[in-house]
């Protein structure tokens, strides 16, 4: 259980060896410690660890079950993962006692005394995951196209929006090879960025979404309407590398997220062009005709966003927008140090919702529709489901935001007869190769010596500053000498 991941507010990384993470103020640490099996079910351990002295029991993730009650002493001076495993196995061995009953006896929600000494490990359990039932959704792979269309420093929030969605889908399991990320500007390297190489999505610079493993596929001036449509329809030039293509097929679920400045029926790209809702709808139709998707989720965070999905006519598309026609979409979280807004309201609340999602969660699309009520968003988020075949209630969030691979266990094996003669030969060859190879050295990456010792570059010759002026004076003088001053009136 080494993948310890902290979600939610207060994201400071807690080292493995600390006895238990101390909640900072009111905020609480939700932990995903990985999966455990519990009573034949697969459970994701989302444990609320709470600090001694906390009065009330922590809010429990909806639908989670208590898995084990572990004394705090288990957690002292040993890696968190080992301690959790130990606690779980101890719980399993003491099956005689029903945990739920025990918790009730101990008074659950626990009294401060119990809180002080114990940690209740909670898990979200689902029998469905990894079973064939999951596959009836009909998709085998997930793709994401995340687009930020705005340039310039004051549009920092759009880049942060897109990067945060990128981070979320990656956390939920879509690999980089299946994400096409388009960022119209490079905020991390902007000269006005007080913290270079970072992009923050939370106030007080709590969460850097421009981590070590961000793979931007289309950057700055490459983000154009044409390139975007080419990615969607697959009509890219033959020289395009694999990472810049959307190689989806008839079994792919695609998430398309767009953010930028828009108006009624269009979304502006880069201050120079715009994509209209008709163009977008036609592109989707072309994708559908070539069966480039199985189902599609379209999310747009822009002013008058609902106008962008009005014209869609291809089946199996579900669309969400941050605002209705005639409404503006508003920003959130101004940051004094950075000097601009860090996020847009709608995306902020969507991400807050997504933070609670993990690969096994059963949250559905109806939950996503309600993440940002008008009281929070100020604009009215809209959604469109009439083109979608399934009931949104049956569509899991992870159908689009995550990727749970279908895996089968190999049972067959082809009988092969070893061929000793040729094997021996290739062994020999291998050894020979080893003998022959010389120690390898790194090639000189930069000709440093040459750079240091090179002669100063000779200046190019320029005519002196007064030269041109003098030349003109000479021409005028020659002119007057020949024609005299009285002919000036013919000149002017």
């Amino acid at each position: 259980m080494e993948q310890v991941q902290f979600l939610g507010p207060g994201m400071d990384p807690v080292s493995e060896n600390r006895p238990h993470p101390v909640p900072s103020g009111e905020s609480l640490h939700w932990l995903t410690l990985g999966e455990v099996s519990h009573g034949g079910q697969q459970c994701f351990l989302v444990s609320a660890l709470w600090a001694p002295g906390m009065k009330a029991g922590p809010p429990q993730p909806a639908g989670s079950l208590p898995l084990a009650l572990a004394p705090l002493s288990t957690f002292s001076k040993r890696p968190l993962s080992t301690a959790v495993l130990e606690a779980l196995s101890a719980e399993e061995s003491s099956k005689a006692r029903n945990l739920e009953n025990r918790l009730e006896i101990d008074g659950f929600p626990p009294s401060p005394l119990v809180v002080k000494d114990f940690i209740v490990l909670r898990g979200l359990c689902s029998p469905a995951l990894g079973r064939p039932g999951q596959l009836l959704n009909g998709h085998t792979n997930n793709w994401a196209v995340l687009v930020c269309t705005s340039r310039f420093w004051f549009n920092y929030r759009h880049v942060a929006n897109t990067l945060s969605v990128y981070r979320s889908v990656k956390r939920l399991g879509i690999p980089d090879s299946h994400i096409v990320l388009m960022l119209a500007d490079d905020m991390a390297c902007n000269p006005r960025n007080p913290k270079p190489a970072t992009v923050f999505s939370h106030k007080n610079m709590e969460l850097n979404v421009y981590g070590d493993d961000v793979e931007v596929d289309y950057r700055s001036y490459e983000v154009t309407v044409e390139n975007f449509l080419r990615v969607l329809t697959g009509r890219v030039p033959p020289s395009t590398p694999r990472s810049k293509r959307l190689l989806s097929d008839d079994r792919s679920n695609i998430l398309i997220y767009m953010t930028g400045h828009g108006g009624n029926g269009f979304l502006k790209f880069q201050d120079s062009e715009e994509i209209t809702n008709v163009e977008l709808a036609d592109a989707f139709e072309q994708m559908w005709q070539k069966r480039r998707y199985h189902e599609m989720l379209f999310i747009i965070d822009t002013c008058q966003g609902a106008s962008m999905y009005e014209r869609f006519y291809s089946p199996n598309v579900m669309a969400l927008a941050s605002s209705q026609v005639g409404e503006d979409s508003l920003s959130h979280q101004p940051d004094l140090a950075i000097g601009v807004h860090l996020m847009d309201r709608y995306t902020f609340y969507v991400l807050e919702f997504l933070e609670e999602i993990h690969p096994a969660s059963q949250a559905n699309m109806n939950d996503l529709f309600q993440v940002c009520p008008k009281s929070l968003c100020v604009s009215t988020p809209g959604h469109r489901t009439d083109l979608f075949q399934r009931n949104p209630q049956n569509v899991l969030i992870t159908d689009f935001f995550g990727s749970v691979r279908k895996v089968e266990i190999t049972t067959e094996r082809v009988a092969l007869k070893p061929d000793p003669s040729s094997l021996g030969y290739s062994h020999l060859k291998c050894q020979k190769d080893e003998e022959l190879t010389e120690p390898l050295n790194y090639a000189e990456q930069l000709p440093v010596a040459q750079i240091i010792h090179q002669k100063p570059k000779q200046k190019e010759w320029h005519p002196p500053g007064g030269f041109i002026l003098g030349l003109w004076a000479l021409i005028l003088m020659v002119f007057f000498k020949t024609y005299g001053i009285k002919h000036m009136k013919y000149v002017f």
């Binding site: 259980m1 080494e2 993948q3 990985g34 099996s37 697969q42 993962s81 495993l85 196995s89 995951l129 990894g130 079973r131 596959l135 085998t140 792979n141 399991g173 690999p175 090879s177 309407v225 449509l229 080419r230 009509r235 030039p237 590398p241 694999r242 990472s243 190689l247 079994r251 029926g265 209209t276 163009e279 036609d282 139709e285 072309q286 005709q289 070539k290 069966r291 690969p359 990727s403 749970v404 691979r405 279908k406 895996v407 089968e408 266990i409 190999t410 049972t411 067959e412 094996r413 082809v414 009988a415 092969l416 007869k417 070893p418 061929d419 094997l423 290739s426 062994h427 060859k429 291998c430």
Partner: protein, 593 residues
Amino acid sequence: MAEGRMPERARLERPRGDRGDRERNQALAALTLDPGSLQPAPRLARRKTEKIRGKHAALCFATMAVMLGLPLWWKTTETYRAALPYSQIGHLDSMLLRLRVPVSVVFIQGSLPIVDQQKLPFTVVNERDVPLKCKMKLKCRFQLAYRMAGSHEEKAFKKDTIEEAEAALPLPKEDTLGSLNIFVIPEKSSLLPKDKMSYIGPKRTAFVRGTQVRQALTVMGQRILQVAQSMSLTDEVLAAALGDRLPEDKVSLDKRRPLKSSLGYEITFSLLNPDPKSHEVHWDIEGAVENYVQPFLSLLSVVGNFSMDSQILYYAMLGVTPRFDAASSSYTLAAYSLPHVINPVEARLGSRATSLYPVINFLLYVPERAHSPLYIQDKDGARVATNAFHSPRWGGIMVYNVDPSAYNTTKYPVKVDVDMVPVMEVFLSQMRLLFGIPPPQMPENFLLGDPPREGLRSWEVDRLVWARTVENVATVVTTLTSLAELLDKIGNIVIKDNVASEVYRAVDAIQEAVVELSAGNLELAFRYSREAVTSSEKAFFDPSLLHLLYFPDDQKFAIYIPLFLPMAVPIFLSMIKIIVENQKARKDIEKVD
């Protein structure tokens, strides 16, 4: 400041200028009026000719605008569309696809009653409809050519075992892709075990037990058909090929496993060594590829090009930490955690940027010393014998445990030589599944011959080629019809000549493929179908096809109005004037009358 002052001065000056203009105008009017009043008649005549000339000029402009301007405007703003064979594409949708399987049936002496033997040779045709959701029709046609055995073949069946008999058989005249040879042996023959009715060999050959009952030929016909079907066009094969065209109840989960038909495939073998401090792993991948993979793929070379590479990745971890199982003092990966294993590894695998063929990954994972031995558990918690799993359309992973006795040393890293035979056994079986060659499922009373050294039976390859051909045909039909539909729906798509020629080529090739399929030439049909796929994909994904010409109507008006309004208003006004005057003149004439 300068800007601010400007309007003020303009305001000051304007009245003066206005006044000047007015005075001049009045003077002009006086000048022109004066001679007019003096000589009315010539003036009137001149005015009349002037008017007629003006009328002619206006008409001239109007006709120019209509005759020249409009066609020019129409022509220049038109989207270029080369002619496409729409009617042929329309017919493709409802075409009849007939798959003909030539089967030669050879009766050995004594396998039929004498009465029936005299009827030979003759040919029976059996046709079967496959129900589809769409308008396309699919028919499987088995053409059974019955004949008696020749002396060479008779001799072969004097052997003791069925394998020897098969080996002794003379090479059939027709051993092409997709054809079958079925031999009917006497009912009492000892070549087959008593409880088995038929034997299916590794080549395109099968043996069926004969019968002596009345109507023997009809009975045998049924048996032979069953064998022929299971060797070529089973329902699974068609389901794999046709995907969403089959009715819902026939769709199985299996159909999502195989890779889609493609012109080529990239195969990558990766050795993951997460713990190089304790293990120094060597694998003879070159020898293994040469000995086991290459022969396997050479049989499949009809289907596509394969390119292979291998790599060793250090410190590459799986996404899930295995659990310790105290009972067997080993570590386990449970079935439900396997889906999460792949993603973290995949980021490190890399892919070749140049090729767009599907990539198949095979990973051999040597667990770190702290987690070995590592075993994969299935859903019931039992240990998986192969210690491997695979993911559809992606590839397979196998866990290779280091022999624990190797740790009885002080010298680290321990040198580990991977035994490639069991590894390749697993990888090849995964490869079979990924290419859509599942282990054959035969009825109880069938005896299945062992596959040859390469691990693939000839008729299994045939089945794959059948499936791929049908899949290709279906893909081309969808591509072309949806292209036609798109062009109909979206008016702004440009079709260049080269795209049109690709479409023509695809249509021609698909028609050829259909003809060859109904003639029973599988290999040719497959080649044509592949050509059709290439051309149709090229046409559909041509970069020039991208329409970027959509303008909303209000924008169109905004562009045209400044261009057309200054020209159109005078023309229209003069036209109206001419019409009104004409009507007036006619009324005057009527009045005079």
